[in-house]
Each structure stands twice: as structure tokens, then as C-alpha cells.
């Protein structure tokens, strides 16, 4: 069953047609990736799905509910959480306070301690630095914090926008390991990446986005083998 179903999504920035009616779906338990070049509309897709930028046309069905016109802060409460591009952690708050903000949508605070411990176990660096101001963390640590913060809201669907951006190769591998790990715990993943090779390798299915349209789709392995993808995104 599709957990997320996007139909005919159209987004404009002024007169510029950034998304030209794209449709895709994410099934429960999957890792699905949108790959594409800079400016193809990947982040626009992520932000309009979650309600951060307005949709001109199209619908978004999440967990059986039409959320096309639901404001962003309410969507989080339904179980869709996004790790935004550039991480956007709260720089002035401590690591602990950032995680606390991550749990903002959880009304029942009784499980908080357990969730927090789980995050600290998954990301030992965050435990070491829990009282540090988040703005002083390294890029890799900030990415861990952004992911930890998102998991605190118990998402059914976790959306990650360019999680490997700006990280060293070693950290990139680590990030993809963590994504696989989160997925194996039962969280469905929608991933947006420029790093096509690494993301296709962990994906069940993927879509290729070009100039605001989906031009290709298939399983991760299919796309890795496709000549178009090889040529355009995997360096020949």
C-alpha cells in the first residue's frame, strides 16, 4: 500500500514552472530516491509535499489522508517528518534542546527519555555533546543531529533532502548506513540526493527528475544499469 502518493504536483515560483505535474509514490517500508541535477526540482518537491511552499495543482495523499492543503506544522503530527536541505538545526540551542524540539509534535512526554536514549545510542557523538550549542558542531555532527531531531517525532515517513551534501566521503558512507539502519527499524524513507550512485545502491525504487518532470523510474538496480542514468548521473 502506498504510504505517500503524489499526483500531478505542480509548483510555480512566480511565473517559473518549477514542477510540471509530477506523480510518484512511496510504499510502506521502502527507501525511495529522487535523483536529479541541481535545479531539477528535487528540493521543491520535498518542500511542497510537506507544505512549506504552496502547490499550484495536484494532490498529496499520505497514510490515506489528503494533505494537499494541510499546513506544514499539522503534517508533522500525522507522521511525516523532513530533514531539510542544509540541515537547518537550531544553532542557538544545545544539542539536547534541538532533540527536544524534534519531539515537539509528541504530546505524550512519557516516552521522551527512552527516545532520547535511543538517539544517543545511535549517535554517540551527540551524547558526548548533548550540552553543547548546536552551532558549534561540525558539519557531520550537525547532519547527525538533524537526523536525530527528525526521528524524535516518530515519523512513519522520513524525508531527507540532500543528507550527504558537504560531507567528507567517510561521513557520506556513514550517513547512508544510518539511513539504511533507520529504514530497517520500520521507517519508510524518501530521499533526495545528488549522489546518485550511493543513493541508488540503498534504494528499493527511484525516480529521475529533470527540469521539473519525472523522466525515468524503476528499481534502484534498474536505474543503476540504465544508460541514461549512467551517462548523466554516474559519471559515464
Amino acid at each position: 500500500m502506498a504510504l505517500l502518493e503524489v499526483k500531478n504536483l505542480e509548483v510555480y515560483y512566480g511565473v517559473i514552472n518549477a514542477l510540471k505535474g509530477i506523480s510518484f509514490e512511496v510504499n510502506e517500508g521502502e527507501i525511495v530516491t529522487l535523483i536529479g541535477a541541481n535545479g531539477a526540482g528535487k528540493s521543491t518537491t520535498m518542500q511542497s509535499v510537506v507544505g512549506l511552499i504552496p502547490k499550484r495543482n495536484g494532490s498529496v495523499i499520505f497514510d490515506g489522508k489528503d494533505i494537499s492543503h494541510t499546513p506544514c506544522h499539522k503534517i508533522v503530527h500525522l507522521g511525516m517528518t523532513q530533514v531539510p536541505e542544509g540541515r537547518r538545526i537550531f544553532q542557538e540551542l544545545t544539542v539536547y534542546e534541538n532533540l527536544l524540539m524534534g519531539a515537539f509534535s509528541i504530546k505524550d512526554s512519557s516516552g521522551f527519555k527512552k527516545d532520547l536514549d535511543a538517539i544517543y545510542t545511535r549517535f554517540p557523538r551527540l551524547a558526548e555533546r548533548k550540552n553543547q550549542i548546536a552551532g558549534t558542531l561540525s558539519g557531520g555532527e550537525q547532519q547527525m543531529l538533524a537526523m536525530g531531531r527528525a526521528i524524535m517525532s516518530h515519523p512513519k515517513l522520513l524525508m531527507l533532502d540532500e543528507p550527504s551534501m558537504g560531507l567528507s566521503p567517510l561521513l557520506v558512507d556513514q550517513v547512508f548506513e544510518i539511513i539504511k539502519d533507520i529504514n530497517s527499524d520500520g521507517t519508510t524513507i524518501l530521499l533526495v540526493e545528488q549522489n546518485a550512485g550511493k543513493s541508488l545502491a540503498i534504494s528499493d525504487r527511484a525516480y529521475v527528475l529533470e527540469n521539473g518532470s519525472i523522466v525515468l523510474s524503476g528499481t534502484g538496480a534498474e536505474l543503476m544499469a540504465s544508460d541514461t542514468v549512467k551517462e548523466a548521473y554516474l559519471g559515464g
Binding site: 510537506v50 507544505g51 512549506l52 499546513p71 506544514c72 506544522h73 499539522k74 508533522v76 503530527h77 517528518t81 523532513q82 531539510p84 542544509g86 537547518r88 538545526i89 537550531f90 544553532q91 542557538e92 540551542l93 534542546e97 527536544l100 524540539m101 524534534g102 515537539f104 509534535s105 531531531r149 517525532s153
Partner: protein, 290 residues
């Protein structure tokens, strides 16, 4: 000795009034990213509200009603005048705020006339402290302001809503992704700011028992100056800037030669500080987004 004690107490007292008003400016700026130039006039509305309610109930209850009235006024102004402009150019919002300011002043003139009204809230009398005669109302002002500011600081640091306010002030989009309702947080911010303005209206009545439609204009600008000196957007900055300005004002008015230039001196300090430290004392350098 006498001069020292009275200067300190009066400086703290005036400063804490400025600080309370400056908090309204700075919190709204930090969270809604706008300068609410109608904020000063809410002080005036608060004073008139006390004047009206005093005719019906005892002073304490009148103050409480005035605070609630200003709270609702602030929330209404935000909803009616500012919310439709969310995402509009900052200039449009600024002009709207100035418009709201004139609207409040004009409404007050229509309702209460242009002559000022006498308002005796309560006569606390005077006491002798360290051989110095001090107005008890000055001490009450100081005490209430300090309690309110401590409470506000704890609220922002320790409560769920307070932390959400910090989150919204830093990154609205990311805050929404946490499930924070940004509009609700902005409403709460206006409610807090306007309640503090109502209390400031009370403090002005305790200092000088009369109110006219322009009561809030000068304190508004002074407190805005204080907020900028302290670093607009910073809560401790607003408190620091307010106290600093209060002291300067208090000292300047005591020195006969420069007393007439008190306002000029205060605004000159703003210019000098902006030249040396454009972000104010505790303001943050704006980070460039990559």
C-alpha cells in the same frame, strides 16, 4: 550619598520601564521579523484602560483588566493588520505599523478628547531609605518589573512554548517542520509584548498621574532605542539597553547644564553604538546562508 542612592533607584526604575517596553519590540522583531511601531501606543491604551476601569473596580482589578484589554488589542492588531502582510515587503509592514500607531492615537483622541486626563491609580506615599526620601511607587515599579523580567526569561528558557519561540525566531521553516504552529507563536508573542506595554502604562501613571493620546510616543521611541542598543532580537539585550538608557536619562536630568539635552544625549548614544557595534551589545551577527 543622597544623590547616589536616588540616582541608582530612579535609574533602575526608569530603566526597568524602558526594558519592559523594549522586550515587546525585541520579541516581536525576533519572532515575526517586523518592527511594531504601534507598540508604544499600546502603553497609552493601557493607561486609558486603567483610567476607565478605575471608575468601576478597585485599582488592582482595574490593572488586571487593563492588561487583559491590551493583550487582546495586541493580538487583534497582529491578526487584522499584520498577518495579512506575512511575506509582504518589510516596507509595507513598517508603514502599516506606523498607520496602526496613528490609528490608536486618533481613536484615543476621539474617545477621550485631546486634553489629558488625571488618573490617580494608588498613592503609595514616600519612605526614607538610607536617609533618602524615595517614592514607594518607584520601588514598586522596580520590583514588579524585575519579577516580570525574571519570569519571562524563565518562561522562554524552560517551557515548551518558550523554546518554540526561540526556534521560530531562528528558522521559521525548520520550526514548522518540528510541528510548531508559527502563527500561534507569533500570537503569543504579541500577547506577551502588549501585556508588558499595559504594565508600562501603569508605571507611567504611577510616575505622573495623567494620560493623553501621545503618552506612548516618546517612551515607545526610547524603548525602541534601548532594544536596538541592546541588540534587537535579544531578550537580555533589551533589558540591558533599557537599564542603560534609564541610567543615562536619570544622570543627565540631574546635571543642570545638560538636562535640557537629555533626549538628544540618549539618541546620540544610539548613533555612536550603531557606528561601533551595528548589531548592538548582545545582538547576533547575521549569518550568511550558503
Amino acid at each position: 550619598m543622597e544623590l547616589l542612592v536616588s540616582t541608582i533607584v530612579n535609574g533602575l526604575s526608569i530603566g526597568s520601564i524602558y526594558a519592559m517596553i523594549a522586550l515587546g519590540y525585541t520579541m516581536v522583531y525576533g519572532i515575526a521579523k517586523m518592527l511594531n511601531f504601534a507598540h508604544g501606543d499600546v502603553i497609552m491604551v493601557g493607561a486609558y484602560a486603567i483610567y476607565v476601569f478605575l471608575a468601576y473596580v478597585n485599582p488592582l482589578f482595574a490593572i488586571l483588566l487593563a492588561v487583559v484589554f491590551c493583550l487582546l488589542l495586541g493580538v487583534t492588531i497582529e491578526k487584522v493588520a499584520y498577518r495579512p502582510l506575512r511575506g509582504a515587503s518589510p516596507l509595507a509592514v513598517l508603514i502599516t505599523a506606523i498607520g496602526v500607531s496613528y490609528l490608536l492615537q486618533s481613536l484615543a483622541q476621539i474617545v477621550f478628547g485631546s486634553a489629558s486626563k488625571m488618573v490617580m491609580v494608588y498613592d503609595f506615599g514616600a519612605i526614607k531609605l538610607f536617609g533618602v526620601t524615595l517614592q514607594v511607587s518607584t520601588l514598586v515599579t522596580l520590583a514588579v518589573a524585575v519579577v516580570v523580567m525574571i519570569a519571562l526569561t524563565l518562561f522562554v528558557k524552560l517551557t515548551r512554548t518558550g523554546r518554540a519561540m526561540i526556534a521560530v525566531s531562528e528558522d521559521k521553516g525548520a520550526a514548522q517542520l518540528m510541528g510548531i504552529n508559527v502563527n500561534k507563536i507569533i500570537t503569543i508573542t504579541f500577547a506577551i509584548g502588549s501585556s508588558l506595554a499595559a504594565l508600562a502604562g501603569l508605571f507611567y501613571l504611577l510616575k505622573a498621574p495623567s494620560v493623553s493620546s501621545t503618552l506612548g510616543a516618546m517612551p515607545g521611541i526610547k524603548a525602541f532605542t534601548a532594544a536596538v542598543i541592546g541588540g534587537i532580537g535579544s531578550i537580555p539585550g533589551a533589558m540591558l539597553g533599557g537599564l542603560l538608557l534609564g541610567f543615562v536619562e536619570c544622570i543627565a536630568t540631574k546635571i543642570t547644564v545638560i538636562a535640557p539635552y537629555t533626549d538628544a544625549i540618549e539618541f546620540s548614544i544610539l548613533i555612536v553604538i550603531l557606528l561601533v557595534r551595528p548589531t548592538g551589545f548582545l545582538g547576533k551577527k547575521r549569518r550568511e546562508k550558503v
